[in-house]
């Protein structure tokens, strides 16, 4: 088997008395969707922030593409090809959907920013951005200001920005949050095909989506990783049911 694309080894992080990550280890392999589930406040977003560089872990290390990235900044990790989407959309609201989608392609690995050429006349950049918008179904909204987009459309735009980065791995924090049933279904279908392009570490509360998509699932509770396994294994685990899934699973 090949080396994992991303591997997290024994990460811990405390906020005062709250232990948000308690020795978490997991990995993301080529071609898979690895879902992370857990109740509110389990430490999922905190884990993602450490993987993507917003937070420094107190202990442990993170490898990406065979390289220790624990000490790298957020932009440096992004330039290596780690694409993140946010639980709460973080987009340039005054700019158009197209301008936002361009952002991911602005810094081709090791590249420099242009100062004089109008960015909207850069055909290559425009094409990349338009393709990404088409893929997430936002082509018709390209010229709209992001502030005018619906909540669901902003979630789609989040994904499009990540696509233009041409990443080696996706890290998505609740991409379906607040999307509605139909939106969730479409997003699920979209992510299904995306795993071929790059593996996805997926934090999600929507269990239908998780069970439909995930190759493996890791369950976090109070910052601890209580189980990792296939969908069938996780559904069968009594501990997981008690801690999180409840009766209906």
């Amino acid at each position: 088997m090949t080396d994992p694309v991303l591997s997290v080894q024994g990460i811990s992080k405390s906020f005062g008395a709250v232990c948000a990550s308690d020795g978490i280890s997991l990995d993301l392999r080529q071609g898979e969707i690895h879902a992370i589930i857990g109740p509110n406040g389990a430490g999922k977003s905190t884990l993602i922030a450490q993987i993507c560089g917003g937070l420094r872990p107190d202990a442990g290390r993170i490898d990406f593409l065979g390289r220790d990235i624990t000490g790298l900044s957020v932009p440096a990790r992004a330039r290596l090809g780690l694409a993140r989407t946010f639980q709460i959309s973080a987009l340039a609201m005054e700019d158009t959907a197209l301008q936002n989608a361009m952002l991911g392609a602005l810094m081709p690995r090791g590249g420099r920013l242009g100062f004089f050429r109008p960015v909207l006349r850069n055909a290559a950049l425009r094409d990349t951005a338009m393709q990404a918008l088409e893929r997430v179904g936002l082509a018709d909204q390209a010229a709209l200001r992001t502030a005018e987009l619906s909540h669901g459309q902003r979630r789609q735009l989040e994904i499009a920005v990540a696509l233009t980065l041409r990443p080696r791995a996706f890290v998505m924090d609740e991409p379906m949050a607040g999307m509605g049933a139909e939106g969730s279904r479409q997003m699920t279908a979209f992510l299904e095909g995306l795993r071929e392009e790059a593996p996805i570490l997926l934090v999600e509360h929507d269990m239908d989506a998780v069970f439909a998509l995930a190759d493996r699932i890791t369950v976090l509770v109070y910052g601890r990783c209580i189980a990792t396994g296939t969908v069938a294994e996780i559904r069968a685990s009594r501990e997981v049911r008690e801690a999180y899934l409840g009766e209906d699973a």
Partner: protein, 327 residues
């Protein structure tokens, strides 16, 4: 052309037409007023790159304006007294040549912006405003307590600096110089705003976390914007000192930083011609209301209040509507 484009063209034409008319009608004072507008607008165009594009509310841009002014004053005063600035380790003489003075002004204020920016940009929000204010005040007190160059009294330059082939003492010719430099700065500012850098800087302002996760460093983007911004404001300072043939610590005062912000708010934050509209309105009000009452600032304050409450995009926003992304 968009509506904003037409408004900008009208403003631009107006700023050119008024002094031309005054020249034909032999009204040199009006030409000087228009020159003041052009220079202060230039300073505002500089600030607008930091404030409008970068979202950096600097209350210390007088530092760069003053550096430009003092740089001009120091070089010109040494030239008029025929004493070199320094002789060891190498000789530096004064100069009365505008192009050299401009170049040094841009470099000196850009360097100051690099240092001030590198330190201030580690903070944000109110702290950023306070720390830039503090830097500005530092320069102000330094200028007051520096007797070699006039201290509190300032420094007079007897003859305006020269530009090859022009008579800079002729008001209309000096206006032309300032107008050309303002045009160049507006062109640069428009190019920057529409460039990849402009898009990245805008993202760093509106969604810094997003900018980081696509591999951009908001800190470096802002620092670069701050340096370009400071350099342009510094150039305006050199011209302002040349217009008055006088430099004093008031060029470093926080009131001046405040006025530059007022221009931008009046004209429209982040609008290309916002500082031009704001500076023109400010000087016009100062001229007409200042003649009526010593307390004309009260009316200015009232106007500012109305703009902030009812016209968030300033005059340009009021007339042109929302900003649009253009090809």
């Amino acid at each position: 052309m968009s509506r904003e484009g037409w408004i900008n063209a009208a403003l631009y034409a107006g700023l050119l037409a008024v002094p031309l008319w005054a020249w034909l009608a032999d009204e040199p004072f009006t030409i000087t007023l228009a020159t003041r507008v052009a220079i202060l607008a230039l300073a505002g165009v500089g600030l607008n790159i930091a404030l409008g594009l970068g979202g950096l509310v600097s209350l210390g841009h007088a530092a760069f304006f003053g550096i430009g002014g003092y740089e001009m004053g120091i070089l010109a005063s040494h030239a008029q007294s025929y004493s070199p600035l320094m002789e060891t380790p190498f000789l530096i003489e004064g100069t009365k040549s505008m192009p050299i003075i401009w170049l040094v002004a841009v470099l000196a204020s850009g360097l100051a912006a690099l240092v001030i920016g590198a330190l201030s940009l580690r903070t944000s929000g109110v702290y950023f405003i306070m720390i830039t204010l503090a830097f500005g005040q530092m320069f102000y007190f330094f200028a007051i307590s520096w007797p070699a160059y006039g201290g509190e009294d300032g420094l007079s330059i007897y003859v305006r600096n020269g530009f090859p082939g022009l008579n800079t003492l002729d008001p209309i010719q000096f206006f032309a110089i300032c107008f050309v430099l303002l045009s160049a700065a507006l062109w640069l500012s428009a190019r920057l705003a529409a460039s990849e850098f402009g898009l990245a800087l805008g993202a760093a302002r509106q969604a810094p976390r997003r900018a980081e996760t696509v591999g951009l460093s908001p800190y470096r983007l802002r620092l670069l914007a701050f340096v370009i911004s400071g350099a342009i404001t510094g150039l305006a300072g050199a011209l302002f000192a040349d217009l008055n043939r006088f430099v004093s610590p008031t060029m470093f005062s926080w009131q001046l930083s405040g006025e530059l912000i007022v221009f931008i708010i009046l004209g429209g934050v982040g609008r290309l011609f916002g500082p031009v509209a704001g500076a023109a309105l400010f000087i016009t009000l100062e001229h007409f209301l200042g003649g009526l009452s010593e307390f004309w600032h009260i009316y200015l304050g009232l106007l500012l209040l109305l703009v902030v409450l009812f016209a968030r995009g300033g005059i340009i926003g009021l007339l042109a509507g929302r900003r649009v992304a253009h090809d």
